[in-house]
């Protein structure tokens, strides 16, 4: 226990608080995460009275040893990727807090809440206009993308 790195200690604290008080629509498999604290799968439910009501999604978080100084790598995974102007069909998400605007005061919980609110404010389900090109040419790691952030109000 004393050998825990700061990143592990913090991830463990985040896990405990998410188990204790999961935000609405967010759930996780704690046992699976305990096996590998640096790779989390989170289940998201589309919020009620939004375009995504009744849909469920999976988010994958990958953390580095430098977490929380480095942002986590966050993508949608699984069968069902939400159709949204900031979500590419390969699961990559264009969200500035995941790169340029990251701060160590953010957390798994705040990232999930931002993504839920990004989905909730969507008015029309569509892929980003450059989806086909991006998916063909991008790096596997979305953090390597030089994002050009779309209008944040969408």
């Amino acid at each position: 226990m004393t050998e825990r790195s700061p990143s592990k200690r913090r991830l463990h604290r985040e896990l405990l608080s998410l188990i204790k008080e999961p935000p609405p629509g967010v759930s996780l498999d704690a046992e699976q995460i305990e096996q590998n604290l640096f790779l989390w799968t989170i289940h998201l439910e589309g919020a009620e009275r939004t375009l995504y009501e009744g849909e469920s999604f999976q988010l994958q978080f990958k953390f580095s040893d430098n977490y929380p100084f480095d942002s986590p790598e966050v993508i949608f995974t699984g069968e069902h990727i939400p159709i949204h102007p900031h979500v590419y069909s390969n699961g990559h998400i264009c969200l500035s807090i995941l790169t340029d605007d990251w701060s160590p005061a953010l957390s798994v919980q705040s990232v999930c809440l931002s993504i839920v609110s990004m989905l909730s404010s969507c008015k029309e389900k569509q892929r980003p206009p450059d989806n086909a090109f991006y998916v063909k040419t991008c790096n596997k790691n979305p953090k390597k993308t030089k994002w050009w952030y779309h209008d944040d109000s969408v």
């Binding site: 700061p6 480095d70 990251w102 160590p104």
Partner: protein, 148 residues
């Protein structure tokens, strides 16, 4: 020296401060360790972050980046520090998400947000902003220099 020599950044920070450091060779806590020094003690060169997402060892820094980092270290050292006295107003460091314990070394930012010194110094070496309110740390510091 290959590029594959990685070290945890926590160690680098304590190295830079010169305190709690295993290395006694570095007597000047502000200065960057010189190349020779780094080579002679056989430790990999510390890693620096000229900008948040860029990580380089000291030997890979351009002169401009070295100056930027030296200035940054100087600025960080001018931020007030203290020890946690059990004050109820602040309880938790949002970086490590741990509760403050009496005696913990703290650093106070100009915006009045408080963190463990080790936690915030690691961040400030990447970005001179407060993690909680995103207030730039250097602007406030520079104005306080001028008024003093």
């Amino acid at each position: 020296m290959g590029n594959c020599l990685k070290r945890s950044t926590t160690d680098d920070i304590s190295l830079l401060r010169g305190s709690d450091s295993i290395r006694e060779a570095s007597s000047d806590p502000v200065g960057l360790p010189s190349y020779q020094e780094a080579l002679s003690v056989q430790v990999p060169p510390p890693l620096y972050h000229p900008s948040p997402s860029v990580t380089r060892s000291v030997t890979q820094l351009t002169e401009e980046e070295q100056i930027k980092i030296a200035k940054r270290i100087g600025l960080i050292q001018h931020l007030p520090t203290g020890k946690y006295d059990g004050c109820k107003k602040i309880r938790e460091c949002v970086i490590c998400m741990g509760e403050f314990m009496v005696g913990d070394a703290l650093r106070y930012l100009p915006c009045m947000h408080t963190y463990h010194m080790t936690c915030i110094d690691d961040w400030l070496m990447r970005s001179l902003t407060c993690p909680s309110c995103m207030e730039p740390v250097d602007a406030a510091l520079l104005t306080s220099y001028e008024t003093n």
